[in-house]
């Protein structure tokens, strides 16, 4: 089913390693991967397997040691830092586990700081930001508050608004609920589901099964390669089949 979809990212013979002293530590090697438009791809794996490293390499946030990453037919591995930054602003949105909002700016300012890079007028950006804030259930009064004055869940939802304000081709999320309590996690994941429903392509790293259930495609990273892949199908609120399928898959993978 995935094969018929439009490929956004094509990674070929990807290698990432770190050198510590005289020792080279390889995270992944000879890794080939396609990411498809409209998918909610979840990357899972044990701690230290290289999930985040893979995601950040695909997004142009980090550079692979070797191999090629092609976005819509254009290789990004050869871009210099500034060109890569321009590439990211046009194509990627990021949601981090630690949220990373600019702490001296209100939630709205955080979002508009990102939108300042787009060609959209300020007026339209403000309008769109307000729509997104409404979508993620952040009331007007909260939008004017500083990150330190809101809950973790609200901050993370504001982080998602900031990530999608420029309508990125792919929204990258690195353990977005990792620092949140159960209620806040659900609220945040609901936002991801809504966005995916609206056609947003998402790549999310997680080691939480419930979070992974929100995706339609699960990749399992192990021993420096994509160890397995599971097609969960579209998300529904009450799908025991999907949960069972994921459990089986993870069991197979040695989770």
């Amino acid at each position: 089913m995935s094969n018929k979809k439009e490929i956004i990212i094509k990674a070929t013979k990807l290698k990432k390693s770190f050198i510590t002293g005289d020792t080279e530590q390889t995270i992944f090697e000879y890794l080939n991967l396609n990411i498809y438009k409209g998918d909610f791809t979840v990357i899972m794996g044990s701690s230290g397997a290289g999930k985040s490293t893979l995601m950040y390499s695909l997004s142009g946030m980090d550079r692979p040691t070797s191999g090629e990453i092609v976005w819509d037919g254009k290789a990004i591995t050869s871009l210099n830092d500034d060109k890569l930054a321009i590439f990211r602003r046009k194509n990627c949105g990021f949601v981090f586990q630690q949220i990373y909002l600019l702490d001296k700016m209100s939630l709205m300012d955080n979002v508009l700081t990102a939108s300042a890079l787009s060609e959209t007028s300020k007026k339209d950006s403000v309008k769109y930001a307000n729509e997104l804030f409404t979508l993620v259930n952040i009331p007007e009064i909260t939008r004017k508050k500083f990150p330190s004055q809101v809950s973790g869940g609200e901050a993370q939802r504001a982080g998602i608004v900031r990530a999608v304000i420029n309508k990125p081709k792919i929204l990258f999320a690195d353990e977005p609920t990792g620092a949140l309590n159960s209620n806040n996690s659900t609220a945040v994941l609901d936002v991801f589901t809504k966005l995916h429903g609206a056609g947003q392509s998402i790549i999310m790293v997680t080691h939480d099964k419930n979070t992974a259930l929100r995706g339609n495609r699960v990749l399992y990273v192990k021993d420096g390669k994509i160890y397995g892949e599971c097609d969960l199908g579209g998300y529904t609120n009450d799908s025991k089949d999907r949960e069972a399928k994921l459990n089986n898959f993870l069991k197979e993978m040695g989770w």
Binding site: D81, D82, K104, M105, S115
Partner: protein
């Protein structure tokens, strides 16, 4: 105590490079401050010691030999507080030293007989030629050092147009007439050469009365008593100088240097305080979690404050000691420069009180301000600290909310950053403002010395024509006719000068046939004299007389009354002068005086040619000629050289201070904002955008401060120059404050700031978006 010591060591090790950069500025401050303190303490006492060692007379009066007599000396000896009076014959004359530091140098000079026995005003032989030299002369250290005359060199004195060539047989050091500031320079000749010169200039032979005073005597009272005694005898004084005035003149540059060093050390000390404050506040913000952990573990606030404050105290002390040590390498260089100007040599030794003061001031001030900044930690509850807040208060106000504020978002981000760094910006504003005062001062000096030199020279010099011609008696009219026929000459003026006494005070009188035609009108109040009974007095007499008063002027035994029409200035004579009309001047002399002619040319470039031509073509009419334009040009070039050095030095110091402050501020900011910059990069901001945004956040404040200070300079700079010139005796100056020039310097300063900021922000390029995830 051990626990605190461990924390101090930990803090020192962790911020090693930061403490070193802080230490460097302390070292520089200590170096400058110690130089100032040592010079202040030791030059003065070295001067006094040498003064005593050479038995220098505190008071010296010079009178024409024809008027001196034993009664006068007896009167001096009988003056209440005079201990001893000693007299010596000398020759006093205005003389021009040829090739003095590359130019001709005119100065009132007193030639003494070196073989005269003297118990007062002794001298010390600094060096003496081992050869038998022809026409030997012993010159003071000032003439040797500043004029560039070494042993066995030829030195030519021109007196009344006649050249006298000598060979430098020795260099001497004395404490009375040994530098330009005292108004008289001395030279010593062996008996034979002295007698020969005295024969040639019998009218210039004088007697110098040197007086020592009793212990505890008031020098002012002695000077008054001696002046009265001279008055009573009806004697004309050519010079009366007390040791305090001479000391003031000879140590003027030292005092000025001490003042400049102290001012610079204050600026660097202020920078050090700002830096320590800034660093401590930064450290508290970035280390608040660790500090709160310590608090939670049971460390008291006092222990934590001590662990933050003491490293600064220790670093200040160590680098202050280093700075003081290094200052002893610089001091001999400064001393040799000061010796050239002051005309006396002195050695510098280690000065314990200065060292203690410098170390205590630096260590104390830094520790105090660091402590004040570190006290913040006391107010922080451990739980707030663990959450990353330095106080329980949250940020309240969102300046320039992007949603509501009109304008470009990227520009608004710069403004937001500016507000976030407001403390640094306030400091930058103050520093930029003060430095612009320095820049405006030097810029104005540059403009008036290099671009419009006539403005500066008019304040420093008296009337300067292009050529001065000394006619032979009765040839004035004939020469004037020749000038009228010479189309290179614009006009000429008769000029005369002599020493006169006004109500007991000896001053130099100048007479001119028409003061309205002079180039440099030195009259700063009232009018120049026009009638035979009119006089304009020098600024030194302004306190005693007012316009409309009548004063008595005496030359020898002739006394005439004149009405005061105004006041005139002269930097060279410290305001001790007067102006008369030619008729008024002549009325003071029984015998008709021959004036000299000030010649003003159509084109000053002809000055050299005309000087030579008139001397060679009209030997029967002309006694001597002086290329006055050349002399002025040489003086002008000298001032230009000094000004260019000064302007470059001030610019270099400004750049250094701005560089240092921006370096510390931007470096700390980059460390503090590392994560924030990573977030920006993740959003897609390029390094160039972030560099401009960060550098730009410091620019508006610095630009406003520079432009404001530059514009305000139009108002405060004339007052500064007026004050300086008034101190030098120049009541009216033509210093022009050029707005365009000020703006040019201000723009240059802004550009320098922008370039420095951008360069310092370059490390932003190395911060990657991925950094924030990895860290």
């Amino acid at each position: 105590m051990k626990k605190i010591a461990n924390q101090i060591l930990y803090n020192l090790k962790k911020e090693k490079s930061s403490f070193i950069s802080f230490g460097v500025i302390i070292l520089i401050t200590a170096l400058i401050l110690n130089c100032a303190a040592v010079l202040l303490r030791q030059v003065d006492s070295a001067y006094d010691e040498k003064f005593e060692e050479l038995s220098t007379a505190p008071l010296n009066a010079i009178v024409p030999e024809v008027q001196s007599n034993s009664e006068l000396e007896k009167a001096f000896n009988e003056a209440e507080e005079v201990e001893k009076c000693e007299s010596h014959t000398a020759i006093m004359t205005e003389a021009t030293v040829k090739d003095f530091n590359g130019a001709d140098f005119s100065m009132n000079t007193v030639f003494y007989n070196i073989d005269d026995k003297r118990t007062l005003n002794s001298f010390e032989l600094v060096s003496e030629s081992e050869n038998d030299v022809v026409n030997p002369i012993y010159i003071p250290l000032y003439v040797s050092n500043f004029g560039g005359f070494a042993l066995n060199d030829e030195i030519v004195y021109v007196i009344d147009g006649k050249s006298h060539s000598f060979t430098v047989a020795g260099v001497i050091e004395e404490m009375q007439y040994g530098n330009y500031g005292s108004g008289l320079l001395c030279a010593y000749l062996p008996e034979e050469e002295f007698a020969e010169l005295a024969d040639s200039y019998s009218s210039k032979t004088v007697v110098e009365y040197s007086m020592s005073v009793k212990n505890g005597a008031s020098l002012d009272k002695v000077t008054n008593d001696v002046s009265k005694a001279i008055d009573n005898k009806g004697v004309m004084v050519l010079s009366i100088l007390d040791s305090e005035s001479v000391k003031g003149a000879r140590t003027m540059v030292t005092d000025l240097l001490v003042l400049i060093l102290a001012a610079f050390s204050l600026i660097t000390l202020a920078v050090s305080v700002f830096l320590s404050n800034f660093k401590v506040k930064n450290a508290i913000e970035s280390e608040i979690t660790n500090m709160s952990v310590l608090k939670a573990l049971g460390y008291t606030s006092a222990q934590i404050v001590a662990s933050i404050t003491l490293p600064y105290g220790i670093v200040s002390l160590l680098f202050a000691i280093l700075g003081v040590g290094l200052s002893y390498a610089l001091l001999p260089v400064l001393c040799s420069v000061l010796t050239v100007q002051s005309g006396f040599s002195f050695d510098i030794s280690f000065d314990l009180p200065s060292f203690v003061c410098v170390a205590c001031i630096l260590c104390g001030v830094v520790t105090f301000f660091t402590f004040m900044a570190a006290r913040k930690i006391k107010k922080t509850q451990p739980i707030d600290g663990l959450r990353g807040n330095t106080s329980s208060k949250h940020q309240k106000r969102n300046y320039f909310p992007l949603e509501e504020t009109k304008g470009n978002t990227k520009f608004l981000l710069v403004l937001k950053q500016m507000i976030a760094s407001k403390k640094q910006n306030v400091m930058l504003f103050l520093v930029s403002f003060v430095l612009t005062v320095l820049i405006a001062f030097s810029g104005t000096l540059f403009y008036n010395v290099v671009v419009k030199p006539e403005n500066f020279m008019s304040a420093l010099s008296d009337e300067v024509a292009d050529v001065i011609i000394y006619p032979k008696s009765d040839s004035v009219s004939e020469l004037e006719e020749k000038f009228e026929d010479d189309n290179r000459v614009q006009y000429s003026l008769k000029y005369m000068s002599a020493i006169v006494k006004i109500e007991g005070k000896t001053v130099t009188a100048f007479a001119c046939e028409d003061f309205s035609k002079v180039r440099n009108d030195v009259c700063y109040m009232g009018e120049n004299p026009r009638e035979a009974d009119e006089i304009a007095l020098g600024s030194a007499l302004e306190e005693n007389f007012k316009i409309g008063d009548t004063v008595k002027v005496t030359v020898d035994d002739i006394t005439k009354s004149f009405k005061v029409t105004g006041f005139v200035q002269s930097i060279n004579l410290q305001g001790e002068l007067c102006e008369l009309s030619i008729e008024g001047y002549n009325s003071l002399f029984a015998k008709k005086q021959t004036p000299f002619l000030y010649v003003y040319l159509e084109n000053f470039e002809n000055a050299g040619k005309i000087t030579k031509e008139y001397k060679s073509d009209y030997p029967t009419l002309v006694a001597d000629t002086v290329n006055s334009y050349k002399l002025q040009k040489e003086a002008q070039d000298m001032y230009m050289g000094i000004t260019v050095v000064l302007v470059v030095a001030i610019f270099a110091v400004t750049i250094f201070i701005v560089l240092f402050i921006l370096y510390i501020v931007i470096k700390s900011l980059l460390v503090k904002r590392r994560q924030e910059l990573g977030i920006y990069k993740a959003m897609g901001y390029t390094s160039s955008q972030l560099i401009l945004q960060t550098a730009g956040s410091f620019m508006p404040v610095s630009m406003i401060a520079i432009m404001l200070s530059g514009v305000l300079a139009l108002f405060y700079m004339p007052a500064i120059y007026q004050f300086i010139f008034e101190t030098l005796g120049v009541m009216k100056n033509n210093i022009e404050i050029s707005f365009g020039f000020l703006m040019l310097f201000a723009v240059a300063q802004i550009l320098v700031n922008i370039i420095i900021s951008i360069i310092l922000c370059m490390p932003i390029r190395k911060i990657s978006a991925y950094t924030l995830i990895k860290e």
